[in-house]
């Protein structure tokens, strides 16, 4: 016993641990999951949203100058062309066909145009038949016929013409603008000017946005009209797919033949075959984004890992603490239960000691008498007299033995074990301890047991404690000469009730709801307030129920309902 107390009782600990570990593992997983989701999901969403916004901003930052430059470039080129076309238009309005047919006059016009606008290489006047009737410029082209040339027919049709870039006789890239005008004598002529592409080259070259970018002009057949950094020289073929028609600056993503992805901004120059194209490699656009994305991903990964680490660590710590606390509480509860039982046994012990005292007194007196007879009588006392005394001694010793045996039997049932128990026998055992007290105090204990009381499968030691606590309380509640009624009844199938009723002082109504609370006691100074709370706990653990009814001055009735069958938890 002493050993048990110092080590603390460990009933059911193995089972508790098994249940606990599963329960706490679940608890931990739930905690980790919920906290992780709550912590990580907003982080992921925020990072995603930020990254998207940043990507958009970055894109705008890269693409908007591209579009702006394309629009500006288109504007400049359009102005360049229309200025020169207007100049030609002015020339043919101001000067008559006859004046222009004069090469000297035409030369003066060319000089003026060169001074005013620049870019003019030569001027030529072509009559209706396509023959160049006068020419001003560095070459000897007078008399040359253009009647077979497409451009001549086109200017005849539209009145205005801007050619594609070509090498021509001079083997330098240039293009031609031409305008048709009436001679005033019923026929028409064409004023044709060759424009140097240098000005355009300079203009376009200045438009490249990035060092790795490109800017050039293509015609409708995707032939380069100015040199391209990426795709070669003038009149080479641009490997990009054809650009859809648009006079507004448009932004598209294209892929060239080498598979490189590019961002292109383009715009068609009105009244010309030219399309201005500005290119920026996608990598340029992505370089910033990629490095940002890498930073973001690293940051995100570290954050998530940190959060998960903290969450797992924290959850484990908290759950472990909870488990420790639970185990400690369970151990404390077991210890309390044990202490309570030992206290109950201690109370019984006093009664038992008194009970033992009686047979002990008889033994002392009988043995003393035996001694007297031997010492004081002169002759040997008769044999049957001696035998009678010895038998008395033996009988009393047996009585002592019975009492101690009963007490030991009561104290030893500490481990939870299921067995089939006859409730009437168990109640008789419990009452055995209080028999003498009942006799001395004239307390009448009525037993109302059925002929064949139902057996229950339960824990003997725990049930003994339950009934001992309740019956002890009943004894404390009644006055000398009081009544206690104990009944066993089978209710329905699978349950049996034990009622312990007394006609004692009763419990006030306001205390009634609290009597199963730990440390609540009505026995001022005499009780620990644990008895009924522990009784309640044990009954619950055995799968039963306990209830109480009481009226002050009339008595108290405890009802314990127990499952009969195998419904042991």
């Amino acid at each position: 016993m002493t050993n048990d107390v110092s080590q603390g009782p460990t009933p059911e600990e193995g089972q508790d641990l098994l249940i606990s570990q599963r329960r706490y593992r679940k608890m931990r997983i739930a905690a980790v999951l919920s906290v992780s989701v709550v912590a990580v999901v907003p982080l992921l969403i925020m990072t995603g949203v930020n990254a998207y916004q940043y990507q958009q901003a970055l894109r705008t930052e890269v693409t908007s100058p591209l579009v702006r430059f394309a629009a500006n470039g288109k504007q400049s080129l359009e102005s360049f062309l229309s200025e020169r076309l207007s100049a030609l238009a002015m020339v043919v309005r101001e000067r008559s066909y006859e004046e222009l047919r004069d090469s000297r006059q035409l030369n003066r016009v060319l000089v003026n145009l060169r001074q005013a606008f620049g870019g003019f290489v030569d001027l030529g006047v072509i009559d209706e038949q396509g023959v160049q009737v006068s020419y001003a410029g560095p070459y000897e082209l007078e008399g040359r016929s253009y009647s077979e040339y497409n451009w001549f027919h086109e200017v005849g049709m539209r009145g205005l013409y801007v050619s594609e870039v070509f090498m021509g006789y001079r083997n330098v890239p240039h293009f031609v603008i031409a305008i048709r005008q009436s001679t005033g004598a019923g026929s028409e002529f064409v004023l044709r000017a060759t424009i140097d592409t240098d000005v355009i080259n300079t203009l376009v070259g200045s438009l490249a946005v990035h060092r790795s970018g490109d800017a050039f002009i293509v015609n409708r057949e995707n032939i380069l009209q100015t040199a391209s950094r990426l795709y070669g020289d003038v009149l080479e073929r641009c490997p990009l797919p054809p650009f859809p028609f648009s006079t507004q600056a448009e932004l598209i993503e294209v892929e060239d033949e080498s598979g490189e992805s590019l961002i292109a901004s383009y715009a068609q120059i009105p009244r010309s075959p030219f399309t201005l194209v500005l290119l920026s490699p996608r990598g340029e656009l992505h370089a910033g984004w990629l490095s940002l994305r890498q930073d973001v991903l690293i940051f995100l990964a570290i954050s998530v890992l940190l959060i998960l680490g903290v969450v797992i660590g924290g959850s484990t710590y908290v759950v472990n603490r909870a488990r420790e606390a639970d185990l400690k509480r369970a151990a404390l509860y077991h210890k309390m239960e044990y202490t309570n039982k030992m206290a109950a046994i201690g109370r019984l012990g006093a009664g038992v000691a008194h009970e033992i005292n009686n047979p002990l007194a008889i033994i002392t007196e009988k043995a003393g008498l035996l001694q007297d007879l031997i010492m004081l009588s002169e002759e040997m006392p008769p044999k049957d007299k001696l035998m009678g005394l010895v038998n008395s001694v033996l009988k009393s010793a047996d009585r002592c033995g019975g009492i101690t045996h009963r007490l030991l039997g009561f104290a030893k049932h500490m481990e939870v074990q299921r067995e089939t128990i006859d409730l009437d026998v168990l109640l008789q055992e419990v009452l055995g301890f209080l028999e003498k007290e009942a006799a001395y105090r004239n307390i009448q204990v009525d037993l109302d047991f059925p002929e064949e009381p139902p057996a229950v499968v339960s824990d003997r030691g725990q049930l003994q404690q339950v009934f001992l606590n309740i019956v002890n309380n009943a004894f404390a509640a009644v006055d000398d000469g009081g009544h206690i009624h104990i009944g066993i009844r089978e209710v329905g199938s699978g349950a049996v009730t034990v009622t312990i009723a007394d006609d004692g002082v009763g419990i006030p109504e306001d205390s009634l709801s609290r009597i199963f609370d730990p440390f609540f006691t009505t026995k001022k100074g005499a009780g620990t307030g644990l008895g009924l709370s522990i009784t309640y706990g044990i009954v619950q653990k055995l799968g039963g129920q306990i209830s109480v009814e009481s009226k002050v001055g009339e008595g108290t009735c405890f009802t314990v309902t127990l499952p009969t069958g195998q419904a042991f938890p």
Binding site: G351, A361, I362, E365, L369, D372, L373, K436, Y440
Partner: protein, 129 residues
């Protein structure tokens, strides 16, 4: 002392104890009688003279304390020595208040009991004188 044997009444619910003590006291020259209930004791005292009553405190029915109260009321000259068990110190105190000569705890050594009986009888004699 020798000429007049002390009359002792033993009251205890254990018959075996009563008979043994009775016989042992008789062997020592007392005139002892034993009864097993409080009621019997009162009946006995009503008819016969007695010097000292040896009285068990805890008895079913009429308890020892009730008996001593009645003895002191009805036979104030009779001295009472209480026999008590473990854990009944309160009863012993109560008995002393009610006028017991002394109390002894069971089991009792016969020599101690004899000395107590003689002392009680001496006080009774003094009281009568």
């Amino acid at each position: 002392m020798e000429a007049e044997a002390l009359r002792v009444l033993i009251v205890d619910d254990e018959e075996e104890l009563v008979s043994a003590v009775e016989e042992r006291l008789n062997l020592r020259g007392f005139q002892a009688t034993g009864v097993t209930t409080g009621t019997e004791a009162m009946e006995y005292l009503a008819d016969r003279p007695c010097d000292v009553v040896l009285l068990d405190v805890k008895m079913p029915g009429v308890g020892g304390l009730e008996v001593i109260k009645r003895i002191k009321e009805e036979h104030p000259g009779v001295e009472v020595i209480l026999l008590t068990g473990h854990g009944s110190a309160q009863d012993a105190d109560r008995g002393m208040q009610l006028g017991a000569f002394d109390y002894v705890m069971k089991p009792v050594k016969i020599d101690v009991l004899v000395r107590l009986l003689i002392s009680a009888a001496e006080r009774k004699a003094k009281g009568e004188a």
